[in-house]
Amino acid sequence: MVSYLIKRIGLGAVIVVIAVSMLYGMIHMVPGDPLSVMLGPRATPEMKQELNIRLGLDKPFVVQLFRYFTSAMKGDLGSDVISRRAVTTIVFEQLPYTFTLILTGIGWAVLLGVPLGCYSAINRNSVFDKIAGIFSVGTIAIPSFVVAVYSLLIFSVTLGWLPAIGAGDDGDFISQFTHILMPALAIGLGWVGYLARLVRASMLEVLGENHIRTMRAFGLSDRLVIFKYALRLAILPTIALLGVGIGFLLSASVFTEIVFARPGIGKLIFESVIQRNYPVVMGCVLITTVIFVISTTLSDILTVILDPRIRENL
């Protein structure tokens, strides 16, 4: 088991290095520089040249990369081009908001999606299955920014139940909770349907297998047969996808964060890419890639732990 872990972490490290190097190369291909975007007409060519030197962009590509990683090892990810704030503080300031948003979003999607999938599978082709089917597939199709803007209009503008913008005051759980409800709905809605369909598909497959029939032949209650013996097997492919989902949502949260004016890493990536704020972009991608690797590794490890067929012969 431990060797498996080490291999995965090693693989993760390589992934991070490659992703960041790819990004470094890509940044140079994309035209534009932070000064032109921030200062517009005020940015003179001399200043751009001075900035390039300051950021070391004039050095050969490999040297830049090597220097970036050595300083990254020491925890120094450079500083924001304009505000000169350390990238690590900028990124870790915004990260918790996106993290709580994603976990709440995926959280309620799992709580609703998985049982929905199970009931649909159990009552296959029943009216419930058909309605749940159309609902879940329909919600997959709606882009998160459309859900976000409509919930904004309904819940905060017309009904006035929920605050419209921001992430709430620190330390005040109620305020943070009311501020995360709609964004979590927007980000999670698509996932409810997605998880429901996946769980239904794999549940149907598992329910058809012989060992389920064996358990029924021993008179076990339906609840035990379905929610213990069938679900434990059927949930495995979903867990693998959840790991990926968290990684995907890191950048997909940009839409929700823009519409609800929430702080977050998704919007930070988008804005720093637009402003060509290279150090911040690099910092964001480095850290989101690390998180992505951690979440996929965790979900793989979880699948291995939960699936003795693989765990035992590791």
Binding site: H211, R216, G219, S221, R232, P308
Partner: protein, 330 residues
């Protein structure tokens, strides 16, 4: 419908159809058989003859598109078909339990053997510890070495033979009065088959339960069973003690089957004998006797009328016009 106190199970005129998009398949027609206490009854027939449908009907584990037209299944004084889901569930794994054919897929791969064996004892009012102890004893009885340690292992860590022994242990743990074995050894190699069969016979003797042993392996039936039921294309064509069937087979199909059994062929042959023709389409059945098109002794009456069940000697029933004629002539 009084139950002869000697019989633990009596099936009378059981007919079951499967609704498929090719029409209604009459998988089982007026099947009748009985299982006496403390005896092993073999059910033999080619694949597709309806033996699985029969046993799954007893356990009420039929596929969704199955429809029971008529018939009764009397088990210890109750007609199983009249029971509600819950009442039937109480019996399953308690009074009747089952061993399945393919050991590789009949146990849940992601739960340890111990956990599954504890869960199936959901009727016992015992603590988890005691249930584990019973499981360990049972595993020892079926010949699993070092059962305490193996309890924590998972199905994939056992060989096919071992898994079948575990299934048998699970089935017998609740000391059922009827054990249904659906071709338990078909998936195993010959040497293992013998060990499992002997183990099963010894356990039957210990537990005094009756066994309904389904197989298409005549030699095995001859070794282990007390009585035999022969099925063909959804009908019970002959029923009787092992000696009746293997020495005085009354039905042409049984005779043909016995001739094809390689174990019983004495002189050398280059080609193994087979029964000519094919099983008729269960979706549109021919009139008269079902075996007519492949029966060497068929006559006009066979084409017009289906034979009905006749007791040619005590406990030996045959469904064939040949006997009806003789009965009329005597």
């Amino acid at each position: 419908m009084s139950l002869d106190n000697a019989n633990i199970l009596e099936i009378r005129d059981l007919s079951i159809d499967y609704i498929t998009n090719r029409g209604r398949l009459k998988a089982l027609r007026n099947a009748s058989l009985s299982v006496r206490k403390n005896r092993i009854v073999g059910v033999v027939g080619e694949s597709g003859c309806g033996k699985s449908t029969l046993i799954f009907a007893i356990m009420n584990l039929l596929a969704e598109n199955a429809e029971i037209n008529h018939g009764t299944i009397d088990f210890e004084g109750q007609d199983l078909l009249k029971l509600s889901q819950n009442e039937m569930r109480k019996l399953r794994g308690g009074r009747i339990s089952m061993v399945f054919q393919d050991p590789m897929t009949s146990l849940n791969p992601v739960f340890s053997v111990g956990e599954q064996m504890v869960d199936i004892q959901h009727r016992e009012k015992l603590s988890k510890k005691e249930k584990q102890l019973r499981a360990v004893n049972m595993l020892a009885k079926v010949g699993i070495p070092d059962p305490e340690k193996r309890l924590k292992n998972f199905p994939d860590q056992f060989s096919g033979g071992m898994r079948q022994r575990i299934s048998i242990a699970m089935a017998l743990m609740a000391e059922p009065s009827l054990l249904i074995a659906d071709e338990p050894t078909t998936a195993l190699d010959a040497t293992l088959e013998i060990q499992i069969v002997n183990r099963l016979r010894k356990l039957q003797a210990d537990f005094k339960c009756s066994i309904l042993f389904v197989s298409h392996h005549l030699g095995l039936i001859a070794d282990i069973c007390d009585d035999v039921v022969v099925m063909y294309a959804g009908e019970v064509v002959e029923e009787g003690s092992v000696r009746d069937i293997f020495h005085r087979a009354g039905h042409p199909y049984t005779q043909a089957l016995l001739e094809c059994d390689p174990a019983r062929i004495s002189e050398e042959v280059t080609e193994l004998p087979t029964i000519p023709g094919e099983i008729p389409d269960l979706a549109n059945l021919p009139e008269g006797c079902i075996f007519r098109n492949r029966c060497s002794q068929a006559s006009e009456i066979c084409e017009k009328e289906a034979p009905h069940r006749l007791e040619i000697e005590s406990g030996h029933f045959v469904s064939c016009h040949k006997h009806n004629l003789e009965a009329n002539n005597d």
